[in-house]
Each structure stands twice: as structure tokens, then as C-alpha cells.
């Protein structure tokens, strides 16, 4: 097997092609380093490319992400491998790393695919669309989402029934079921870890009824309902397709909660919920939006003003953690909570509930480092060995961390962190050159 592996040589390996990894890669490529980006998903852009708008400016997320994504895809110094996972990374010496990466077959010739979507039309298999967070379905032959990069089809081989309909429908004949896994040995001088975060799974809090009550959704699902590339072209509640007019946000779902194993603040939920509330008031002018919070943490530049703006727009803020959610026959939901300011238990009815789910570490990358230990912090994010002086440094010299791989943070901070990782990588690489 070792002999069959193709060897590739680059200056830097960036693991994860979200906004932080992308920022690092672009900065490094712009000053002349050769960068290999690996991304486990079929598209680059991470989570940001799927968002609606960003706080506190209400800029369109896709309008910031897509130009960056295009730049990454076309940059002469950047090579992008999607559908690819890192298998192992070993440090051979200073400025010498060896990684083994595994590229999974996409069963589509990406360069030949025009993104015409005829394969999608032909495919008879429908499954849940993970890029729309389960709100709608997709085919087993599909384009991940409309602004994906590369905008090329993927065959979901797990669900494919091998009927060949897509192959027959494809005009450029780019579907190729003979593709197999490819392993590469990559020699690099430095590594940037930008593996991002996972969202808390609210099934772990059964008393909120997620997965059981159809009109209880996650904030990421609401993000999709509000995005320009949204599935329904308006905001609808999934239970019966009714336009909601009384929505509730449950903050700290899976954050600051020891009982679900995540005691820390996710740093973004207050603000994205406030942002979504403002967008909802625009999308559904007659709707009421109530945010149930523990403490509003609006600490960034312009955040408190953004919070005040939501209050001025008529968003209701109630201090108290929602204890239980029950469903009425008409699909409406009863939220039971203690109104902390009044000190009494109350119940409120809403026709749609959004669980503001928290940020969890995306685990797994630290185990890939074989001969040196990539240390994690107590919450399983990547430990920053010198958080104040060199925030991108990790326990391994030459391995740097960017974005939410090191802890919960918002988009501006992720981009800053990506920039910091690229600067420190540059400084590490320059040391060799001098």
C-alpha cells in the first residue's frame, strides 16, 4: 500500500476549508507559499456559506463567503481536495511534516461536470438534505447546495441504488462509478488546523421535544429558512407549512449546561438569535418574537447596540431558562419557565420554537497526530499553548490553529484567528529560510 501512495509536496497543509482555514490559506498563498487544503465535505466554505446574514452588520453571509471561496478555488498557489480526510500527521523534524490523506471517490469527474443538475432530476432516490439541515430532501445524485464550490455533482453512494439513471442523463458523461479511494502522502513544512466546530444535538435534551415536536427546530434550521438560498422561499413551520406568527427562542440549549456535558458559553447564540429575530421581523412583519435567555452576552463591537436595536424593533426578551416544552394538538407549543424577574412559574404558547444550539468541539484531529501530542483544552478544543502572545500556537511547534477549532468564537474572530494563524505560520516558515 505504501508504495502505491502518490507523494505530494507543499509548504502548508490546511485541514478544514471553512472561513478560518480559507483566510489562512489565502494569506499564505498570496505571499507565495504552496498550500494544500483538505476538506471532508464535498464543498468548501464551512458553516458560514450556509448562513443567512451576519451580526452585527446584517451583511449577507454568502456575499462575503462566495468571493472568498472562488478566490480559494482559483488561486494558483492553493490546491483544494474536497471529500478528503486526514488519516495521520507525523512530525519528521523541524519544518518537516508528513501527512497521509484519504480522498473518497465522488463518482463524478469534477472538472467535466457543468453543474447542470440533470442527474438530480434523473435520480429516483430521495433522502434528507443535510445541507438544508433536514428541512427538505435531496437526491442521491446531487449538487450539495446552489453556491457550493466546486459546484459539481456528488453521488451519495450510501444511498445510491446503482440504477445508472444519472449516468445516462449526464450530458458531458462525467459520472464515473469506477472511481476508488485515493491515498496521498503529503510532505509539508507546516500545518494549520482549522477543523471548526459541531453544533449541539438537541436530541440530548428530550424535555425540549426536538425530533418529536415538528415545530421545534434548531437555530441552524432557522438560519436556512432565512438564507437567500432557502428551501421554502419564506419562513414556514415544518409541522404543517403554516407561516408562524409567534416564535420563541430558547437560548443556552446545550451551552453553559453541565447536565449535558458542556459547561461553557458558546459565545455566538445570543447574537445569532438576536440577528434571526430581527430578520424574522422583516420576513414576517406581523410576527411576535420572544427570546428566553439566561444572560444576554453582547460583548463585541457594535453588539450591544444590535441588541438594543432588536429591543426597539419589538423583540421580547424574557429572563428565564425554559424548563419543558409540550405540544398542543394544533402543533403549537407550551413553554414552561420561571420568569426570573417576577419569581414565578409561567407558561407561554408559541407556534414555533427555535432552539439556539451551542458550539461543541469538532473532535478527531488530535488523534491523527501520531508521534507528537496535539494537546486539547479541558473542553476538547485545541489547546492554545501561548494564548496571549501567540494565539495560533499549539503544543506542536509548526502546527497552528485557526478559528473555532480552538474554542467558540464568532465570524469576525474566526477570520482574525485565521489571519493570526497565517502570520504565525509565515514566521515559522521564514525561520527556516533565514
Amino acid at each position: 500500500m505504501q508504495e502505491q501512495m502518490k507523494t505530494l509536496e507543499y509548504d502548508v497543509l490546511v485541514v478544514g476549508a471553512g472561513i478560518a482555514g480559507g483566510e489562512s490559506a489565502l494569506n499564505l498563498a498570496n505571499i507565495g507559499y504552496k498550500v494544500l487544503m483538505v476538506e471532508k465535505e464535498p464543498s468548501i466554505g464551512g458553516k458560514m456559506i450556509l448562513l443567512s446574514k451576519v451580526f452585527p452588520t446584517l451583511d449577507c453571509a454568502a456575499c462575503i463567503t462566495t468571493p472568498k471561496v472562488s478566490e480559494i478555488a482559483r488561486h494558483p498557489n492553493i490546491t483544494v481536495f474536497t471529500d478528503t480526510e486526514t488519516e495521520k500527521i507525523n512530525k519528521k523534524g523541524e519544518h518537516q511534516f508528513e501527512a497521509v490523506i484519504l480522498r473518497k471517490p465522488r463518482y463524478v469527474d469534477v472538472d467535466a461536470c457543468t453543474g447542470c443538475q440533470l442527474c438530480e432530476e434523473a435520480c429516483p432516490v430521495s433522502v434528507t438534505d443535510e445541507f438544508q439541515f433536514g428541512l427538505v430532501g435531496r437526491k442521491a445524485a446531487y449538487i450539495p447546495f446552489s453556491i457550493a464550490s466546486p459546484r459539481a455533482a456528488v453521488i451519495d453512494i450510501e444511498n445510491c441504488i446503482l440504477c445508472g439513471a444519472c449516468e445516462r442523463a449526464c450530458p458531458p458523461d462525467c459520472i464515473d462509478f469506477t472511481q476508488t479511494e485515493e491515498k496521498f502522502l503529503v510532505k509539508i513544512k507546516s500545518v494549520v488546523v482549522a477543523t471548526g466546530f459541531d453544533l449541539f444535538d438537541p436530541l440530548k435534551i428530550p424535555r425540549y421535544g426536538y425530533g418529536k415536536f415538528k415545530n421545534v427546530i434548531t437555530s441552524m434550521q432557522m438560519e436556512r429558512e432565512l438564507a437567500p438560498t432557502r428551501p421554502f422561499n419564506t419562513v414556514l413551520r415544518p409541522g404543517d407549512g403554516k407561516m408562524p406568527d409567534n416564535l420563541a427562542y430558547v437560548l443556552c440549549t446545550g451551552s453553559r449546561d453541565k447536565s449535558v456535558g458542556n459547561p461553557i458559553c458558546s459565545q455566538i447564540c445570543c447574537m445569532y438569535s438576536i440577528k434571526q429575530a430581527q430578520l424574522l421581523l422583516g420576513a414576517l412583519p406581523m410576527a411576535d418574537v420572544t427570546i428566553y435567555y439566561l444572560h444576554i452576552r453582547a460583548f463585541g463591537k457594535g453588539f450591544n447596540e444590535f441588541y438594543a436595536q432588536a429591543q426597539d424593533m419589538g423583540v421580547t426578551f424574557i429572563k428565564g431558562k425554559v424548563g419543558t416544552i409540550t405540544e398542543k394538538e394544533n402543533g403549537n407549543l407550551i413553554l414552561r419557565y420561571e420568569d426570573i424577574e417576577a419569581g414565578v412559574v409561567k407558561e407561554a404558547e408559541h407556534d414555533m420554537v427555535v432552539l439556539s444550539v451551542g458550539v461543541l468541539p469538532h473532535q478527531g484531529i488530535s488523534e491523527k497526530f501520531e508521534n507528537q501530542k496535539l494537546k486539547l483544552d479541558p473542553f476538547h478544543f485545541i489547546d492554545q499553548s501561548d494564548i496571549l502572545a501567540s494565539p495560533a500556537k499549539t503544543s506542536i511547534e509548526g502546527v497552528f490553529v485557526a478559528g473555532t477549532a480552538s474554542g467558540p468564537m464568532d465570524i469576525p474572530d474566526s477570520i482574525l484567528s485565521g489571519g493570526s494563524a497565517s502570520a504565525q505560520t509565515t514566521s515559522y516558515l521564514r525561520k527556516e529560510e533565514l
Binding site: 453541565k258 439566561l294 424548563g323
Partner: protein, 352 residues
Amino acid sequence: MARINPEFTDELKKYGAFDPNACYNCGNCTAVCTLSDEENSFPRKMVRYSVLGLESEIETSLDPWLCYYCGECSMTCPREADPGELMMSLRRWLIAKYDWTGLSGLLYKSLTASVAAFVLLAAIVVWFGAYEHFNLANMMHYGHIFEFAAISLVLLVILLPNIIHMWWLTVMKPKVKAPLSAYFKAIGELIVHMFTQKRTLGCDDNQFRWFEHFILVLGYLSLLFTTVVLGWFETQSMFIIVLGYVESAVIFVVTFDFVRRRIQKDKEISKHSQPSDWFFVIWLFLMGLTAFVVRLFIDIDILDANVWMYQVQLIILVQWALIIVPFGKWTHFLYRSFAMYFHRIIELSAEN
């Protein structure tokens, strides 16, 4: 003017409380509680009072007694402040507070004192046996007299004044203007809760827990009646003999299950056991078991040859009657039902 005691949570930890200071006031405990409503906003209010050390607010409150510990608040507490165990500890603290002798507090806080008390009483009973030259008839005669004396003394000298103290703290001190009629109207509440623990059914957990407790209380009270009034150990009546067997069996079977659960810690309610909890369930188990065996020895006519068995039963009985009943966990039987009674009186007064 409220007085605060900054050392209150440290004091409370001696009664088993975990870490009420971890609370960040989200109100989750109150919201998940199936017994909370606009009138009884607990347990967060009690957590708050405890953190602030507002002793006088706590000693005049009935709230700890209105919680029946399903454990939902502790299981879902985002700060692991364990409000359920806090309420339990407040009940222990209140038992100590109501007790005019101060012995409850001593026994709750000091395991050494508890063990010493148990050993001392055991030694006295053995000495008494020796004094009577282990003559079974004499021992049983005085044993029976002891039952009468202990019940009346404990009730009149310890428990009655303590209940009055509780009434003074929770009804008189907060200046509740309760008309005399309210005391009569609410009496039904006292009877119902004393004999059925109806409120437990409002908890959202296993109804089996209520059933077990219910038959245990019935078994215990009727065994007390059967031995003391009907003279189970002396009787020839087949009906009374069988009745006693059934009652004592119910006690040791149910308490065996309680002990098993406390060992396995399979539910929130059985996760934290203080020495007082162990003494209570184990001694109740031993009470049922030894009474059953003594009567069995009488029926197969071997008790004369095995006086030690009666001696053991008497030790357990004396320890139970003089430690656990007046100063230990047994008192929750009274305080819980009187709390429901006083609570109803306060409600009726508010309606006036």
C-alpha cells in the same frame, strides 16, 4: 430587616447539601418541577435564600416540606447545584431547627455522636437483660411497658412541643391571621397527607415509589397498633398473629427494596444517602425482620431457648424509639403532613 448568615451554606453542607452556590439563577429547577406553581415557586427561591443565608426566611417557610424529591431538578440543573438534595438538606436542617432539645442537629451533623448513642442504648438493653437474668417473661413484660412509655413520652415531651414550635415558626411568626375555623377546615388535609402522602402522586416519576411508601406507612402504623395494643407477642388469636406477620413482612420487604435502591443509586432520589437515611431504612428493615422472627420463634416454640433473639429485637426497638423516632428521619412523617396542614391553613387565611 433581614439578617444574613454568610456561613449558612457551609452549615447546610453538614446536612448533605451539595453546592448551592453554583446556582446562576436560570430558574430551570422551578420550571421542570411538576409540583411548582405560581404560589409555590420552588426550589429556586429556597436555593436563593440558602445562598444568601436568609435563615429566618427558611425557618418560617414550609416549602422544603412541599417538595417530594423526584430529582428532576437535580438531573437537569445546568450548574449541577443539586437543588433536590438542597431541599432534602433543608428538611434535615428544619428537623434540627424545630427540635427543642438540639439533639437532632447533633445526630445529623455528627456520625460519631449517632454511633455512640446507638452503642450506649444497646449496652443499656444488654445490661437490663443481664439484670433480669435473661428471664424471657420478665423481659417481655418490661418490653411491653417500654413500648407504652416510649410512645407517650416521645410524643408528649419531644414531638408535640416540636410541632408547636414548627407552627409558631411557620404560622405565627410570619403573622398569618388564621381564623380558628381554618384550623378545623384544614384538618382533612392533615389526615389525608399523613396516611396517603397524596402529594407524591404529583411528582412526575414512578408511581410505584408512592405505592411502596404508602404500604410501608400502613404496614408500620398497623404493626405498631398490633404489637402495642393488640399484644401480638402474647396473643393466641390466629387473626392477630397472621396480621402481624403480614405487616412485619411488608415492612422488611419494602425497606429491603429501599436499601437496595440506595446502594444501587439508580434514581436521583436514592443517589445521596446521609447516615441518617441509612439508619432510618436499615432500622426499619430490622424492626420488621426481628419482630417477624421473634413471633416465628414463639410459634415454633424456640424463643425460650433463644432469648438472645428477643434481646436483639429489644435493642433495635429501643434504638428506634429513642433515637430515630424523636430525633431522626422518622419525624418527616409528622412534619410533612403538618406542613400540608399549615399550608392549607395559610391558604384559607389568605382567601379570607
